[in-house]
Symmetry: C2
Amino acid sequence: MATNTAASLQPPLDTQAWLNGVRSAWQRSGLRITGPRLRVIETIVSYHAPFSAEQLYTDLCAHNEAPGRATVYRTIDQLHESGWLARIHGATGEEGYVPCHPGHLHHLVCTKCGQVMSFEGCNLEELLARIAAETGFSVEGHLLQLFGRCANCQNTLP
Amino acid sequence: MATNTAASLQPPLDTQAWLNGVRSAWQRSGLRITGPRLRVIETIVSYHAPFSAEQLYTDLCAHNEAPGRATVYRTIDQLHESGWLARIHGATGEEGYVPCHPGHLHHLVCTKCGQVMSFEGCNLEELLARIAAETGFSVEGHLLQLFGRCANCQNTLP
DNA sequence: GTCACTGCAAAAGGTTTGCAACGGA
DNA sequence: TCCGTTGCAAACCTTTTGCAGTGAC
């Protein structure tokens, strides 16, 4: 039943590949590649931790030619809906976005530095089957996110 | 290694027990039991789906003697921090609260009617160990939520 | 009587919207 | 040229805050 028995770790985001992926996705969908949009995605790949919409806008404002607030929000929405941006739920409630490739992924978040790693294959089949049997629910989806300390942050103080 | 091999399903929320639990928790912590707070928790147990702060305030306003907005928000914060209210992440991004008993729980949300069931014991030890080994992270916590259709909603149209 | 709690009203913060001008394809 | 995109500014919605009065214990 489970064809995917091992969790497969994703390599850290290749920013060049991500930028290219977004550009060609835009092209394929007939969306226009404009200066403001490019500035948005270039700033996104510069982050090493989840970011918020307002933070992205503020950072863009610190440079010349910042896009308007509306453009930033609209571009984020687009990327999120097409799967190029994942929503991250912080361990303490904050929300943020992280660049990723479209597909079913889970995230592992460092609670110290914010670094995020992705993995797919979560082996929940057994649990889901049991829950379904016990509750009568038909389980259709799930949200799984892990929190911890990355290798670099394990030996540092809080 | 895994001492907890079966997921244990929680019975549906016993509203009387929840109300009593909250009251005695307040008492134990030296918090005062006031009219406005009681009106808040009584409205909370009347819900059958996750609710937002503003929705709770609005519903309270529809009756006499509604607490002020600040009181509603402050009471929600308190209940959330002490574990009597769980944050629910909707399948499509909306956030909400659901009454629950303090402890480590996961939630199963009906995407049609919003009904929420809780369970504990998620058997993730193996997955967590593998991820830890592959990434060098020390995994310290996780967020797991399931989405599906409850027994009542399975045979109804979208 | 004391001190935590409350309500109000204002401020703060984040996000969305309408619309005229702009500019990729 | 055409139509999607942009920027602006205002509107909107949710949440937070300060403070004087109130009320639980």
